[in-house]
């Protein structure tokens, strides 16, 4: 194994750990809806939510970085340039996350002054990390960019996937700088803040996971480079074509000009089209290789990625993206339902597939299969589907009773929170959240132990 791949494994371990923290924080956040006075003034809902969504971003980012450090030396047949620096900065990254977590647990928030911005909490959703930590993350990401670009230069070789990756790393880095401004005008602040959140999630991350999946497909199914690269170009073009101006679907209730709502609605309405193409592609590729693979968990997680992306982003997104619906659904649990499913389908499933690829190589088995991964796969996906179902019911009740009937007043909000449909949805979310957490435990167990059970797995997969 290359040193870069050993570093990738460390990133994977950190990512899976944060995935666990995210799950615990998610369960805690769900509990507050059922017991609103839980840990009141000790650890309020807002802090649990910060942990839940910030660890979501960080675990996926660490998963992506790990995946690139895993595949890059394989792609270019050489060690990653400046790997020693990347190794040091991995620990810096982990230390930053740990210190920020301690501050979030014990200090939580400060006064409205520069000190709070720099050392406690920036107060901007998804990028709450104080500025010193945000600077640390910029340094880590810049090193990551340097590693990728310098390795390509040294190797004097560029592949199609690498071109796409390198070009994507530019906006990936630049957009994060949007985490720093502290504009006092809320409309302006939210306008630019969405550039970071939307463009990352529906722009640069989509491209990044596209590159990672291209490598994963070559690895898991032996798909030819010509095919994955051609498809990568098409998908990137379509996803970016619809995704960039789709930013308008976030511009509700923040004071942006009205034309954004139509622009956002129109381009978001186009987003299911490439996703439908991806479903066809996934089925074709699986069939072209007669469902034969030497790594069944990775293969099934890749399939889950295609279908989850279509349903989470396509179906759940389209249900609420047109302005006349979005006006009411915006910021309700309906959005939360779509967000959970879309993140799960588009990114989490892809990262888990790469974890199994790495697992296979580390354990040195020719075929990776078994029983535990199926339980993990089933529990995680069943738990997620149940959670988004519960949130959808709660969100629709909220949009109906609180927004459409109640007119979004404070009283209507309170009535919406007490509505039986809303409460039942939240109980369902909690129950299915526990199933999801059980799936996480099985996943970790399987990742840690499937190599040890490899001989059995080999025999099984050879005989089936």
């Amino acid at each position: 194994m290359y040193r870069s791949q050993k570093l990738a494994v460390r990133y994977f371990v950190a990512a899976v750990t944060l995935f666990g923290v995210m799950t615990i924080a998610g369960l805690l956040s769900a509990l507050y809806y059922l017991h609103p006075s839980l840990l009141f003034n000790v650890f309020n809902f807002n802090m649990a939510k910060i942990f839940h969504i910030d660890t979501l971003i960080i675990w996926l980012l660490m998963g992506f970085m790990g995946a690139v450090y895993w595949f890059l030396p394989q792609e270019l047949g050489r060690e990653v340039e400046g790997i020693w620096l990347a190794e040091i900065l991995f620990y810096v990254f982990c230390a930053v996350v740990a210190v920020v977590s301690v501050v979030f647990i014990f200090v939580q928030y400060g006064s409205s002054n520069e000190f709070s911005l720099w050392f406690i909490n920036q107060g901007r959703k998804y990028v709450e990390a104080p500025r010193w930590a945000a600077i640390g993350i910029v340094i880590v990401v810049l090193t990551f960019v340097y590693n990728v670009v310098a390795t390509c230069f040294k190797a004097r070789r560029m592949t199609g996937i690498l071109w796409v990756l390198v070009l994507d790393l530019i906006p990936l880095t630049l957009l994060y700088l949007d985490a720093f401004p502290a504009l006092t005008n809320m409309s302006k602040d939210l306008y630019w803040w969405w550039w970071l959140v939307h463009m990352w999630v529906e722009g640069t991350w989509e491209v990044l996971i596209g590159c990672i999946m291209a490598w994963a497909l070559m690895d898991v199914m032996g798909t030819s480079r010509r095919i994955v690269e051609t498809w990568l170009y098409i998908e990137v073009m379509l996803v970016l074509g619809a995704g960039i101006l789709g930013i308008g679907h976030h511009y509700f209730w923040i004071g942006t000009p009205q034309y954004w709502l139509s622009i956002g609605g129109f381009f978001s309405a186009l987003e299911p089209l490439p996703l439908l193409g991806m479903v066809v592609h996934a089925i074709y590729d699986a069939g072209a290789h007669h469902m034969k693979t030497n790594n069944r968990p990775a293969f099934y997680w890749i399939l889950a990625e295609a279908f989850g992306n279509f349903i989470g982003a396509g179906v759940f997104g389209f249900m609420m993206t047109l302005p006349q619906i979005n006006l009411f659904s915006h910021g309700t649990q309906w959005t939360v339902s779509h967000g959970h499913f879309a993140f799960w389908g588009a990114y989490a499933c892809g990262v888990i597939a790469v974890l199994y690829l790495a697992k296979q190589k580390i354990s040195g088995v020719e075929f990776l299969d078994g029983r535990a991964w199926k339980w993990g796969f089933g529990l995680l996906n069943f738990g997620m589907i149940g959670m988004v179902g519960g949130l959808l019911i709660a969100g629709i009740a909220q949009a109906f009773y609180e927004r459409a009937i109640g007119g979004s007043t404070m009283m209507a909000y309170m009535a919406g929170q007490e509505n039986p449909w809303f409460v039942s949805g939240m109980y369902a979310r909690m129950g299915f959240g526990l199933i999801f957490a059980a799936g996480y435990i099985v996943l970790v167990y399987d990742l840690l132990s499937s190599g040890k059970r490899a001989p059995k797995a080999v025999v099984k997969s050879q005989t089936t």
């Binding site: 095919i227 299911p272 069939g287 396509g314």
Partner: protein, 99 residues
């Protein structure tokens, strides 16, 4: 938009995309296994998508622009699975097979 119109419009929109996905999924698996029943199931899903598009146009209070988008989408849905499939088959052909 009335509260009830909000709910049934959103549900119709979601089902519309889901029917499109069903068409793509069944069509692809049918082509893969050369199974006409599954291909027909795909076509049935597409017919459902057309009916849903029609219902959206006739019974929902969406603005005219969005109804045009829905009509265009359902037309594009018709082409995506067969065109994508043909393109993928062409892409998977080796240079010798292409000759």
């Amino acid at each position: 938009m009335t509260p009830y119109a909000l709910i049934y419009t959103a549900v119709l929109l979601g089902l519309f995309v889901l029917a499109g996905g069903g068409y793509g999924g069944f069509y692809s698996v049918g082509r893969l296994w050369s199974n006409t029943v599954l291909i027909r199931a795909g076509v049935a899903c597409y017919l459902v998508a057309i009916l849903l598009a029609l219902a959206i146009c006739l019974f929902t209070p969406l603005a005219a622009l969005w109804k045009v988008v829905i009509v265009l989408s359902v037309l594009i849905y018709a082409a995506i699975p067969p065109v994508t499939w043909r393109y993928l088959a062409k892409l998977h052909r080796t240079p010798e097979e292409s000759k």
